[in-house]
C-alpha cells in the first residue's frame, strides 16, 4: 500500500509528556512496592529515603501533563482521548477488533479508557497522598479513609499500568511511535484506520521514510 512511508504520530512534546509521566509513575509504583511489600522492604530498607522519593515523584506526577498542555498537539490529543465516537462503542463491543476493520481514530476506546482511568487515579492518589502526608490537618475519618482509598487505588492502578505495559510490549511499532514519533503507514492503517486515512487524505502528516531513521528502532526502550 504505502510500503515506504511513515505517519507522524507524536510530537516531541507529546513523547516528553508520556516519557516523564511513565518515569514518575514507575518511580511511584517501585517505591510503593518497597514501602508495602514485605520481602522487598526487607531487601531495600532505607524507609525514610524511599518514602521521600515516593512523595516527590507523586507530587511531580501530574506536572508533565500540565506543562504539556502548553503544547497545542498535547491539548489536541487530550481532546481526542477524552471523546468517544460511535466507532469506539463498536470497537469495545467487537469480538475480534483486529479483523473487524473498524475506522478507529488516533486512539482506540481502550486507550481512551486507560487515559481517563489513569488521570482519575493520579488525581485521587495525589489528593489522598497529600492528605496522608499532612495528616495533622485532617479529622481522623478523612485520614483513615484517605489511607484506605490510596491503598486500593494503588492496587487497581498497578493492574492498569501492568496491562498497559503488557499491551505495549506486544506491539513494537506502537512503542516505536512513542520513541521516534512516527509509525509505519501499514501499522496505522491496521490499528488506527480512521486516523491513518485522515492523515493520508490530507497529505499533511506523512513523511518519507529516511533510511537513517531505521536505526532508531534499536534504541533502548525508555517509555515503559
Amino acid at each position: 500500500m504505502h510500503p515506504l512511508r511513515e505517519l507522524r504520530r507524536f510530537t516531541t512534546a507529546e513523547r516528553w509528556v508520556h516519557r516523564s509521566t511513565a518515569a514518575l509513575m514507575g518511580a511511584c509504583l517501585a517505591t510503593a512496592a518497597v514501602l508495602y511489600v514485605g520481602p522487598l522492604a526487607v531487601l531495600v530498607g532505607r524507609r525514610s529515603l524511599v518514602a521521600q522519593v515516593h512523595l516527590v515523584a507523586g507530587i511531580a506526577l501530574p506536572l508533565p501533563l500540565l506543562l504539556g498542555l502548553l503544547s497545542r498537539a498535547v491539548r489536541h490529543d487530550a481532546h481526542r482521548l477524552g471523546r468517544f465516537l460511535p466507532v469506539d462503542s463498536v470497537w469495545l463491543r467487537a469480538r475480534d477488533r483486529r479483523t473487524a476493520d473498524l475506522p478507529v481514530g488516533k486512539f482506540n476506546a481502550g486507550q481512551k479508557l486507560n487515559a481517563a482511568l489513569s488521570l482519575g487515579a493520579i488525581l485521587l492518589m495525589l489528593g489522598t497522598g497529600l492528605t496522608m502526608r499532612y495528616a495533622n490537618q485532617w479529622p481522623l475519618t478523612v485520614r483513615t479513609g484517605s489511607t484506605f482509598v490510596h491503598d486500593w487505588v494503588a492496587f487497581f492502578l498497578t493492574v492498569l499500568v501492568l496491562g498497559h505495559v503488557r499491551l505495549a510490549l506486544r506491539d513494537p511499532q506502537a512503542r516505536a511511535g512513542l520513541r521516534t514519533g512516527a509509525v509505519p503507514v501499514g501499522w496505522a492503517l491496521r490499528e488506527h484506520r480512521g486516523w491513518a486515512e485522515e492523515e493520508l487524505g490530507s497529505g499533511g502528516g506523512a513523511v518519507a521514510l529516511d533510511p537513517n531513521r531505521a536505526g532508531r528502532d534499536t534504541e533502548v526502550d525508555q517509555q515503559l
Partner: protein
C-alpha cells in the same frame, strides 16, 4: 460544517447524538497537525465522565473508608490466616505485618552472638545472652499489634521477659525515671518512662507468632509494648539505658508522640489494646 461549529460552541453538551462518524467527512485543506477533520470536540465526553466518576468514587471511599476498612479486615482476616500462599497479603490494607526498617541493611546477629546490655542508672549493669534472658521468669501474652499507619495484626502470641522483671534483675538506681532503648541496627532508638516500663504487658520478647523472633520481625530479641503503637516496639533490641529523663526516640524526633497509647495519641482513635 455548521453542525461542527455548533458543537464547538457548546462543548458541555453531554451525549449529543453524533449522526455520522467523523471519518466519513471529506478531508479539508489544512496545515500539518492542524485540527483533523474528525473534530476532537465531536463525540461524547466519556473521558471527563470517567475521571469525574473515579474522583466521586474516591470521595465516597475517603468518607466511608473507616467503616469499609473494618469490614474489609473482618472479611479478609479469616482468609489471610488460612492462606499459605501469601497471595492475600498482596491485597491492600490486609491484616498482616508490614516490614519497616530505617536502615539499609537488615540488622543480623546470630542467636549465639546476641547480647543485651543494660546500662545507665542501674545497680548492677549487665550484659545478657539469650540464655540469660530465657533463664529469667517468662511471660506470655496474646495481644494485637497496632501500627500508627493504620494496620493491625490481631491476636499475636508474644513471650519473653516482662520488662519489670528485667528491671528488678538489674536493680533501678534512685533518680532513674526513664529508659532509652537502642536497636543494634545502630540508628533506631525509643524511649519509655519508668512507669510505662514497669507495666507487665511490656516485654523483652524472645519469641512471637509461636517461634523465635525472626530477623525480619526484629529478632533475636525485640521489645513489645502492648498498649502503644508499633513504633514503640523497637526491633533488634541491643541496649537498655536507664536515664533521669526522657530522650525522644527516632520517630518521636520526626514528630510522633512520645506517649504513644493506642487510641489516645497521634490523633488516632483505634480501639485500645487491653
Amino acid at each position: 460544517m455548521d453542525e461542527h461549529l455548533d458543537r464547538r460552541r457548546t462543548p458541555g453538551t453531554r451525549g449529543a447524538p453524533v449522526d455520522r462518524a467523523p471519518v466519513d467527512r471529506a478531508p479539508v485543506d489544512r496545515a500539518p497537525n492542524d485540527r483533523a477533520p474528525n473534530d476532537p470536540l465531536a463525540g461524547t465526553p466519556i473521558g471527563r465522565r470517567v475521571v469525574l466518576g473515579v474522583l466521586g468514587l474516591g470521595a465516597v471511599g475517603v468518607l466511608a473508608g473507616r467503616s469499609l476498612q473494618s469490614l474489609e479486615e473482618r472479611l479478609l482476616h479469616p482468609l489471610q490466616t488460612r492462606d499459605r500462599t501469601g497471595l492475600t497479603q498482596l491485597l491492600p490494607a490486609g491484616a498482616g505485618f508490614r516490614y519497616y526498617s530505617v536502615t539499609s541493611d537488615e540488622p543480623r546477629v546470630s542467636r549465639a552472638a546476641y547480647r543485651l546490655r543494660v546500662t545507665g542508672m542501674v545497680d548492677r549493669p549487665a550484659t545478657l545472652t539469650l540464655a540469660d534472658l530465657t533463664a529469667l521468669r517468662q511471660t506470655a501474652l496474646v495481644r494485637d499489634f497496632q501500627c500508627v499507619t493504620g494496620w493491625r495484626v490481631p491476636q499475636v502470641h508474644w513471650s519473653g521477659v516482662a520488662l519489670p522483671d528485667l528491671l528488678d534483675h538489674v536493680g533501678v538506681a534512685p533518680g532513674a525515671s526513664a529508659l532509652r532503648l537502642s536497636s543494634f541496627d545502630g540508628l533506631y532508638t525509643e524511649s519509655l518512662t519508668l512507669d510505662q516500663a514497669r507495666r507487665r504487658d511490656v516485654l523483652v520478647a524472645t519469641s512471637m507468632l509461636g517461634g523465635p523472633v525472626t530477623t525480619a520481625h526484629g529478632g533475636p530479641v525485640r521489645l513489645y509494648v502492648a498498649p502503644m503503637y508499633g513504633y514503640k516496639s523497637l526491633k533488634w533490641l541491643g541496649q537498655i539505658e536507664l536515664t533521669d529523663r526522657i530522650r525522644p526516640g527516632y520517630w518521636e524526633n520526626e514528630g510522633y508522640d512520645v506517649d504513644a497509647w493506642v487510641g489516645r495519641s497521634n490523633g488516632r482513635g483505634d480501639a485500645p489494646i487491653a
